[in-house]
């Protein structure tokens, strides 16, 4: 599998680390235990297209949101995380 890092270009899988589903958002301070429980433990098990967090540890250390089909491994989009520096670069 190969991922096109927005900063480094197309790179092979071994440079990246998978974290998991990118959909759950960390609840704001003051959230209830149930909300945090959902965030920490409950994940959809998607057979198809999903957004995932990947880390380019063998390259630029950016966290990326990778849109991947879990059935075919086809990657349809790669975006830098909000704080990965893309906005600063774009300026």
């Amino acid at each position: 599998m190969r991922i096109t890092c927005p900063f480094c270009g197309e790179r092979e899988l071994g440079e990246f680390t998978y974290l998991g589903d990118a959909k759950p958002m960390r609840p704001a301070p003051g959230a209830s235990e149930d909300e945090v429980y959902d965030y920490v433990y409950l994940r959809d098990n998607i057979a198809g297209v999903m957004d995932e967090n990947w880390y380019h540890g063998g390259g630029c250390r950016a966290w990326l949101k990778v849109t991947r089909n879990t059935l075919t491994h086809e990657i349809s989009a790669v975006e830098p995380a909000a704080g990965a520096g893309a906005r600063q670069v774009a300026k």
Binding site: R2, E12, L19, R26, E33, V40, A81, A82, G83
Partner: protein, 993 residues
């Protein structure tokens, strides 16, 4: 003395007669020529018997001339290089080649185990399951060793492989598998467009079937066309041709696996060269021009030496100028088989008869027969009279019911051709059935891959060239290149008519899978017993599960299953295809990652100095760390470590702690960021101060700990444990980039930039004064406990100095740029001489932290909470942080959790060992009353006894209680007292002094 090559033809072939090569097979000497394979050299020497079969030890000969070979497997080379199950049909001959047959004892000619044939009824499909069921313990002791002796393939060397293996990457626009007419035409089309092309050919000569079958292309004989094509390709700088390289797998994103047998054709690799190289090739497009494999017809005695695939017979005669037989019969169900007749006659060999299963044959064939004087028999082969010395007579069932016999010493068999659908099916693509050629063709190939030519079911030479050229051109276009110049190579198309024939019913064993000794009746038995699905059939009979993966047997097997179940072949379907296409040595996958280069090694900045001191090193992750520094006369590690601890506690010592993860945290929100990742608060830490911090995972369990210092308003210096250095960096980057992108904070890994030393002991300040510039105030007032700031060293080097203590002594940690690390160690030794400075290793470090009750890796085990570690009070209630909410869940704050306590044996002379279970006194050890375990132990020189830390249920309420330590692993049982985990200087006066 080498024997005369009795079956070498007088002329022709692609062997170099000026380069004779001597070799031995089963200890007997032979000679062949450069350009031979081991198989062709054996054929040239008239050797027919090359092995004994897997289960029945039946005599077997050479069936094919390629990597699909099921029978001619040998142990190649000897000693540490001995390689079992090597195909004689692909092993290139070299001077001094040494091969031995497999599965025979005591000799190939006389094999005791061939009595297995008499017991054949018990060796039928599923016999392992049926026969060796009970009792279970008999498996290991009796059945398995016996089966392994009786069956099984070659023997592994049993000694470490002396050769090197390499791994490499390659990138291209168009990858082509195979160099037959299809592959070469594809390479021409893609190469002419300017595309980057890689062509892989598993053979050592390019040309594929053209090498044996010839033909005319663009008006040139095939050999001349190949030469012209190769010189055109050689002139293209972006076309790379790799021979001896098999494309064995396809992976996601257009990544392909290939194995290059770099030096397998030599006795041993030249110095500094690798034996094999594993390639990962990234290609935008791939053209599979892997050709097709001729398939056998299953009939009684079809495994007799001398029975050979018709196309293989052509290869031996035309390519290698070696005659597999002098008087050849052909058994075919298709047009293509007849080519063998032409080739054999052209080489001056006799044709005994052609047995053709088709109702009609072409007039040209009939006239060839009458001209050459051999009979054409309409019918099938029903049996073979022959044995280990080859074929003598062939029994024929004529259409209409009569019988005939043919005297011949070799039988060529052609049952049609199966396109090589492996590569195209590795992503679960199911090949589809084509009735006109009675074969499966590729369907559902992975993205970017297309099959062409014979691999796609196009069997004529002209069609192969057209499909290959078109596929190469299309692949180059898809990869972003234009149309190349030049036109499609042109050749005639041969007629191909076939009457499907898989199995001729008859008496005697008829083999489907010759490598695994699976017969037609095994398949019928499997069906009777309910194993009808092809996946069940495969596993029950082991059809296609040998090293050849059933290349010559799978389709015949499922055709027979289709016949007995009354289904069609496409209804019956194929099993799932999986890589690798050919066996790949584990060594090639490992490459250089073995022995001391199994993984990268990280050395601390003072490593070479420590080695000079005679330090004993320990592997911690990738690091080598000095574990202790033995001195002359010390009898064991304990004596050395005890001396080091005493020296620190009474004087001064130092230890390289550069392996800690080190991260610079910059930015206006650096403090706010740390507040969110640590359970305690850092935004209120004064500049010039350090603080111990604890991180949780989001599920409330402790993740990591370390000291973080504030060097400026917007600059913190954070340390992690050695083990978690990389993971904490990744975690903090996740927090910064994904969770809290609104914060103005930047992280920089500086683990490798700073050499860090812990200097500890009551004389630390005396030593530091010799190192640090005299203007720096190191007094308790000028540099109090938990102070942290940049200082100048004598000579001007800037260092970071931290007054922190892991040992419990008056201590500092000092960071200098990594390039000064070794000089720092040397200077500490020189400057510290008057104070008796003692370098200490990780063992003494560990002893002192246990004496001081500091938790470390064994306590931060991924199951403990901050409160379990006795650090619950650090958890801020005034802010949000990672893990805060989950840390408050019921089970994580339960009163009966196992918490860190100290333990000491009631018998002061007893040694403790970590891992022992804590059981209430007087109770029988068992899971119901297991209350925890010992996590860390050491011999404490200070207490003069073994002490430890343990996780014990409600431990803090049980100080003073005597409990039982139960260690079933080492067979030890003893009593220990639960105590305060801080054994040394509980009020902390020494580190503040």
């Amino acid at each position: 003395m080498t024997s005369f090559q009795s079956n070498r033809l007088a002329d022709g072939g692609l062997v170099d007669r000026s380069a004779p090569l001597n070799f031995s097979f089963d200890g007997k000497s032979f000679s062949g020529f450069k350009g031979d394979t081991l198989a062709s050299a054996l054929v040239a020497n008239g050797v027919k018997l090359v092995g004994r079969s897997f289960k029945y030890h039946r005599p077997r000969g050479i069936l094919t001339a390629g990597s699909e070979e099921p029978n001619a497997l040998v142990e190649l080379r000897s000693g540490a290089r001995r390689e079992p199950n090597t195909k004689a049909t692909t092993a290139e001959l070299y001077e001094g080649l040494d091969a031995a047959s497999q599965n025979r004892w005591p000799s190939l000619d006389f094999d005791v185990m061939s009595v297995n044939q008499l017991f054949a009824p018990i060796f039928v499909a599923g016999f392992y399951y049926k026969t060796f069921m009970w009792p279970a313990k008999f498996w290991e002791a009796i059945y398995e060793p016996a089966i392994r002796r009786a069956a099984g393939l070659g023997r592994a060397a049993g000694i470490a492989d002396p050769d090197h293996y390499d791994k490499a990457w390659a990138h291209c626009d168009v990858l082509i598998a195979g160099s037959g007419p299809t592959g070469l035409a594809a390479a021409l089309a893609a190469g002419r467009s300017g595309a980057r092309v890689i062509l892989c050919e598993e053979d050592f000569v390019l040309g594929g079937r053209l090498l044996a079958d010839g033909g005319m292309i663009d008006g040139l004989p095939a050999a001349e066309w190949i030469a012209r094509t190769l010189s055109e390709l050689a002139a293209m700088p972006d076309v790379r041709i790799m021979t001896r390289t098999t494309l064995f797998g396809v992976y996601d994103g257009g990544t392909y696996g290939a194995i290059e047998r770099v030096n397998d054709h030599l006795p041993s690799p030249p110095e500094h060269q690798v034996r094999q190289r594993l390639w990962r090739i990234v290609a935008k497009r791939c053209v599979v021009a892997a050709g097709a494999l001729e398939r056998p017809i299953v009939f009684a005695g079809n495994d007799t030496p001398g029975v050979m695939m018709a196309s293989a017979m052509r290869s031996y005669i035309a390519r290698y100028a070696a005659a597999p037989a002098r008087r050849i019969a052909l058994f075919t169900n298709n047009e293509d088989g007849w080519r063998t007749v032409e080739t054999a006659l052209g080489a001056g060999l006799q044709i005994a008869a052609v047995i053709d299963a088709r109702a009609e044959i072409a007039p040209e064939q009939r006239s060839l027969a009458s001209k050459s004087g051999f009979p054409v028999l309409h019918g099938t082969v029903s049996g073979i009279d022959g044995g280990k010395n080859g074929v003598r007579k062939i029994s024929v069932s004529l259409t209409g019911g009569a019988r005939a016999e043919v005297e011949a010493d070799g039988l060529a068999v052609s049952g049609g051709w199966n396109p090589a659908v492996g590569l195209t099916s590795y992503h679960r693509g199911r090949p589809k059935w084509r009735d006109d050629i009675a074969a499966f063709v590729p369907d559902g190939a992975p993205p970017g891959m297309v099959a062409a030519g014979a691999a796609n079911g196009a069997f004529g030479l002209g069609a192969c060239l057209r499909e290959g050229f078109a596929a190469g051109a299309a692949a180059a276009r898809d990869a972003g290149h234009g149309n190349g110049s030049g036109s499609t190579p042109v050749a005639d198309d041969q007629a191909f008519s076939l009457t499907p024939l898989w199995h001729v019913a008859g008496k005697g064993k008829a083999f489907v899978d010759q490598q695994h000794d699976v017969t037609a009746s095994d398949i019928e038995l499997a069906q009777r017993e309910g194993f009808e699905s092809v996946e069940h059939l495969k596993r029950y009979t082991t059809l296609g599960m040998a090293t050849d993966q059933g290349k010559t047997s799978n389709v015949a097997g499922l055709a027979i299953m289709a016949a007995v179940t009354g289904k069609s072949i496409p209804e019956t379907g194929t099993t799932i295809y999986r890589p690798p296409y050919v066996p790949v040595a584990i060594g090639a996958f490992a490459g250089h990652h073995r022995d001391e280069t199994f993984h990268a090694t990280r050395l601390t900045p003072s490593h070479h100095w420590a080695a000079e001191q005679g330090a004993i090193f320990v592997d911690t992750g990738l690091w080598k760390r000095a574990q202790w520094y033995p001195r002359a006369g010390e009898k064991d590690w304990l004596e050395s470590v005890t001396r080091e601890v005493k020296a620190v506690r009474s004087g001064v010592g130092f230890c390289d702690v550069s392996t800690l993860g080190k991260i610079d945290v910059h930015g206006a929100d650096a403090g706010a960021f740390l507040d969110r990742v640590y359970i305690n608060t850092f935004s209120n830490l004064a500049v010039g101060k350090a603080r111990y911090g604890l991180m949780l995972r989001e599920d409330g369990i402790v993740y990591d700990d370390g000291t973080t210092s504030r060097l400026a308003e917007d600059h913190y210096f954070l340390t992690t444990t050695t083990a978690k250095a990389g993971l904490v960096m990744q975690h903090l980057e996740f927090c910064r980039q994904v969770l809290f992108p609104e914060l103005d904070v930047q992280l920089t890994s500086v683990s490798d930039q700073w050499a860090q030393f812990s200097i500890a002991g009551p004389k630390t300040r005396d030593l530091l004064k010799e190192i640090v510039d005299s203007s720096e105030d190191l007094s308790n007032e000028g540099f109090p406990f938990m102070g942290a700031r940049e200082v100048a060293l004598r000579g001007g080097v800037r260092a970071r100095l931290f007054r922190i203590s892991f040992s419990g002594e008056m201590a500092f940690e000092i960071s200098v740029p990594a390039r000064y690390g070794e000089a720092m160690a040397r200077n500490l030794m020189i400057a510290g001489q008057p104070f008796g400075v003692t370098p200490y290793g990780t063992e003494a470090l560990g002893v002192m932290r246990i004496e001081k009750g500091h938790v470390a890796g064994p306590e931060l085990s991924g199951t403990t909470t901050a409160a379990d570690l006795g650090l619950g009070k650090m958890m801020s209630t005034k802010k949000d942080f990672i893990g805060r909410v989950m840390a408050g869940r019921e089970a994580l704050v339960a009163a009966d959790r196992q918490v860190v306590v100290g333990i000491k044996p009631t018998d002061k002379t007893r040694r403790l060992r970590s891992g022992a279970h804590i059981i209430p006194k007087g109770q029988t050890p068992g899971p119901d009353n297991d209350q925890g375990y010992i996590t860390s132990v050491c011999y404490s020189p200070t207490a003069d006894q073994w002490i430890g830390l343990a996780l014990v249920e409600r431990g803090r309420e049980r100080i003073g209680e005597i409990v039982h330590a139960h260690d079933p692993l080492r067979g030890e049982d003893y009593d220990v007292e639960i105590c305060n985990p801080v054994f040394y200087d509980p009020d902390g006066g020494r580190q503040r002094g």
